[in-house]
């Protein structure tokens, strides 16, 4: 069994330092890896990222993250990345990592993702340049996520995003803002590989559980949704993905 801990949208700044630490000290007894689903900082400064590094660094298990929209706000992404990687946190954006857990290879592919909406109610690459750029951005990152997932050579495959790949886990959010919360293109990318679990954040008023059309379990781990320091998902070693070879 592989035990995956995950949380997103922790929005760390100096005023939050130490809040997660007591629960994190217990994490190695409960989980083999920690996934951080974006919005690690309050508004994306290097100083805040150093607070994230202090809070989530040195846990004794691998910590794997994607950035969120908040982490981009102050245009300090290189400094944010440096602060996190200096603390041993792996940050994914269109790439992947394989972690050995007692002989089982856990593969995690990640992207921040972007919006656009969901099948039947989504934005199209049509019209003004700004609109086309918006939709093209999501298409590009979704393609990178799909390629990273398909290229993984591992036993258990997990997709990590900030934006949501399905509308199921947005239940509780106003319908009007769904196009800003995620995109079906991320779900399609997840279904293009035999993915075992997809984890995202971003939707603070959403709900925990959903599935892609291909049957991959999706979990929204935004901190205000899970209302605990992190959630833990136990995945069986011999798990067979429902989306494997589904052709979606």
């Amino acid at each position: 069994m592989i035990r995956i801990a995950a949380v997103g949208d922790v929005h760390i700044d100096r005023d939050v330092l130490g809040r997660f630490r007591p629960a994190l000290e217990e994490l190695p007894d409960r989980a083999d890896v920690l996934l951080l689903a974006g919005d690690l900082t309050r508004h994306g400064t290097e100083a805040e990222a150093k607070c994230v590094a202090t809070e989530f660094g040195g846990l004794g298990v691998p910590v794997i993250a994607v950035l969120g929209n908040h982490d981009h706000h102050c245009d300090e992404v290189p400094g944010v990345l440096a602060a996190l990687t200096d603390a041993g946190i792996t940050v994914l954006e269109g790439d992947s990592i394989v972690v050995d857990v007692d002989g089982t290879r856990l593969g995690v592919a990640g992207v921040k993702g972007f919006g656009g909406g969901f099948a039947g109610r989504c934005a199209s690459e049509f019209g003004e340049p700004e609109m086309k750029a918006f939709v093209r951005t999501t298409g590009t990152v979704a393609e990178r996520l799909g390629a990273a997932l398909r290229d993984l050579d591992c036993d258990v495959r997990v997709a990590l995003t900030h934006y949501a790949p399905v509308p199921d886990t947005l239940a509780g959010e106003p319908l009007e803002i769904y196009p800003f919360l995620g995109s079906y293109l991320l779900g399609q990318a997840i279904d293009s590989a035999p993915t075992d679990l997809a984890v995202h954040g971003h939707a603070h008023h959403g709900s925990e559980r959903g599935r892609t059309p291909g049957g991959v379990r999706v979990r929204n781990v935004a901190h205000p949704v899970i209302k605990q320091a992190y959630s833990v998902f136990n995945l069986a070693r011999e798990h067979v993905s429902p989306s494997a070879a589904s052709g979606i």
Partner: protein, 80 residues
């Protein structure tokens, strides 16, 4: 308060760098506004109320904002 106040408050909460909160609902109730949601610290809750009072004087504010719990989980989800 007018028909655009809710939108102005919501944008102020997101765009003010001392706040940067997108997860707070702003709902008009009678002559005032109700602010709902969760933040990561009591300080952030206080700052939200302070900013809205400062930028929108005279509007009655009811803050129903919680601080998200950060305890260790009591159980894991089995995904067999």
């Amino acid at each position: 308060m007018n028909d655009y106040t809710e939108a102005e408050v919501q944008r102020a909460l997101a765009e003010d760098l001392g706040i940067a909160e997108q997860g707070i609902s702003v709902v008009r109730a009678g002559a005032g506004l109700v602010l709902c949601g969760e933040v990561e610290s009591p300080h952030r809750r206080d700052e939200i109320v302070r900013l809205v009072h400062e930028r929108f004087p005279g509007i009655e504010i009811t803050a129903d904002i919680g601080v998200t719990r950060a305890a260790a989980p009591t159980e894991a989800e089995e995904l067999a």
